[in-house]
Amino acid sequence: MVRGLRKAYGERVVVDDVDLDVAAGEVVGLIGANGAGKTTTVECVQGLRRPDAGTVRVLGLDPVRHADRVRRWVGSQLQDSALPDRLRVHEAVELFATGRARPAGELLDQFGLAERRRSAFASLSGGERQRLFLVLALLNRPRLVILDELTQGLDPAARRGVWSAVRQLRDEGTTVLLVTHELDEAEALCDRVVAMRRGRVLDAGPPARLVDRHAGWARVQFGWPPGDRGDASGIGDAGEAGELVRAMRALPGVRDVSVHGDQVRVHGDRPVIAHVGAELVRRGRIPADLRVELPDLEAALLRLLRDDDTSTTAPTATSATPAYHAGPFTAELIGAQQ
């Protein structure tokens, strides 16, 4: 539980009045660009940095005052950290293992490090180091796991393996706080994400809901048989094709209809998918190549950042529309969407 967290380095405020709740068994992702304040926030949560203001409670305890007790229950994989170069993999596991540690062999096997157990840390590849950090983070059956850029440097197969381990943690009831730049990772793993920028929280919620709130569009694309074109240059205004384009433009929620060669693209709000499908069925024209493109979390975050830019450069508009501040506005926005 974080309330009103503030942290500055000299004059530079890196975390500014952040609130954050992570429920038991939840996987929560902190997302945002570099310098958003994600890592500093989790460092305060771990008690590695002392907040300038605000309250932080982890498992009911102040992580700075009760650092030794809190850290016993927290497993972490930190950004920009290392182990002694000449420490071997199995020695690192022995060093970090407390009385309630899982069997080390099991974890080393799970993360593909069993063969490297006698290798020195310096000889491990970037991906192997990341996997070793994960092993150490999970070793002592933590109640809260903090993973900062957990798949950085991993190849796609190893990445999937790590994702599967995080899902397993969630299934076991472990709480996970994930810091990531990889939005597909956040989307795949997190129950909720918290989008941050310049030390502030822009919005939070389940990834799908964030996408709905900030990128609620869809694009439907389908081909139109060449014989049905209105003229030689493509689908024109004449004939059935032209009439189809006009009909698409008239559908509820449609923002734009464009034609690219023999492809028709309809762009609009999410319900457009159903309307376009219904219109095509009604006409007895069922294209075999119909595709639907939906925005992802990345598109939502980009929109969120763009809106934040607009609100910070236009203070009058911001006061009129307190975008992404607190619950009431969020509820209002959800209501508007519905």
Binding site: A23, L48, L59, R86, Y324
Partner: protein, 291 residues
């Protein structure tokens, strides 16, 4: 700016703040808190033991330690110990020059561990985020400093034993005239220099700067305070500079009662005081920087 919070999370959040097996909160009965604290202390001792074991392994794998703490004192002792003959010489307090250097070079081991090995080791750990990882894993604020202290003292003991083992068949090892003064001088000197090493390691920003500062302190101390010419042949200016150097004091406190050329009470008291002050300052500094 505030974060959003899903309204339905409130009760679940309460659940995570008071887990069944989590550390006790202030509302828990006193006995429960005491049990958790005792368990914490036991876990702390276990962490120190694990850290000491790991650090000892790493110490013997570190090329810089092997060179400066183990090889350098032995090689230079063999060379300079044979450079002035074996006849008792007034410049060497009327003793065998080889024995003078055997006694002196034990303190070179101490200085190498304190001024070269530990500062570089600790600064490198901090620079690369190793200390941060230890802190995040629950190693307490003082456990790393304690592990370094023990690892430094063990390295000094092992390297000292190697030096005497090599010296014995070549020059012979003189029997100390006052065992207890030699023992106290060596122990206090080791604690003083290891503490100075921990302090330098926490103060210097990088391994490179620690190496530069460490070598800059080590070589003048080595030449003026232990392994170089005896004070009797130094010019007056050099003698004035060499006199108050910590390594000079440690060497005097060990060498004079060892070879029977004085009891060195003044230097011994100074070294014990230095050890206490350096230990206190380095402990304070370590507790501030290990987070």
């Amino acid at each position: 700016m505030t974060a959003t919070m899903e309204p339905s999370l409130a009760t679940a959040t309460d659940a995570v703040t008071t887990p069944a097996t989590a550390p006790t909160t202030t509302t828990t009965a006193t006995a429960g808190t005491a049990t958790a604290t005792d368990a914490g202390e036991a876990a702390g001792r276990g962490a120190v033991r694990r850290l000491i074991r790991a650090e000892l392994r790493l110490t013997v794998r570190d090329p810089m330690t092997m060179f400066f703490v183990f090889a350098f004192p032995v090689v230079t002792m063999l060379i300079i110990g044979g450079s002035f003959g074996r006849s008792p010489d007034e410049d060497f307090g009327g003793t065998d020059p080889a024995h003078w250097y055997v006694a002196s070079y034990l303190t070179v081991v101490i200085a190498a561990a304190g001024l070269v090995m530990l500062p570089v080791h600790i600064a490198s750990y901090r620079e690369r985020g190793v200390l941060r990882r230890f802190a995040a894993a629950g190693f307490s604020r003082w456990s790393f400093a304690a592990a370094q202290l023990v690892a430094g003292l063990v390295a000094i003991a092992l390297a000292g034993a190697v030096l005497l083992a090599v010296a014995a068949p070549v020059y012979g090892v003189p029997t100390p005239h006052s065992w207890w003064r030699v023992a106290v001088g060596l122990a206090a000197g080791a604690v003083a220099f290891v503490s100075i090493g921990v302090l330098l390691g926490t103060l210097l920003p990088s391994a490179r700067s620690a190496q530069a500062v460490g070598l800059l302190l080590f070589f003048p101390s080595f030449l003026l305070g232990a392994g170089g010419p005896p004070p009797a042949v130094m010019g007056s200016a050099l003698r004035v500079i060499a006199g108050p150097l910590p390594l000079t004091l440690v060497t005097k406190a060990v060498r004079e009662p060892w070879l029977g050329i004085g009891d060195a009470t003044g230097p011994l008291v100074a070294v014990v005081a230095l050890a206490l002050v350096a230990l206190a300052v380095s402990a304070r500094r370590s507790s501030l920087t290990s987070r």
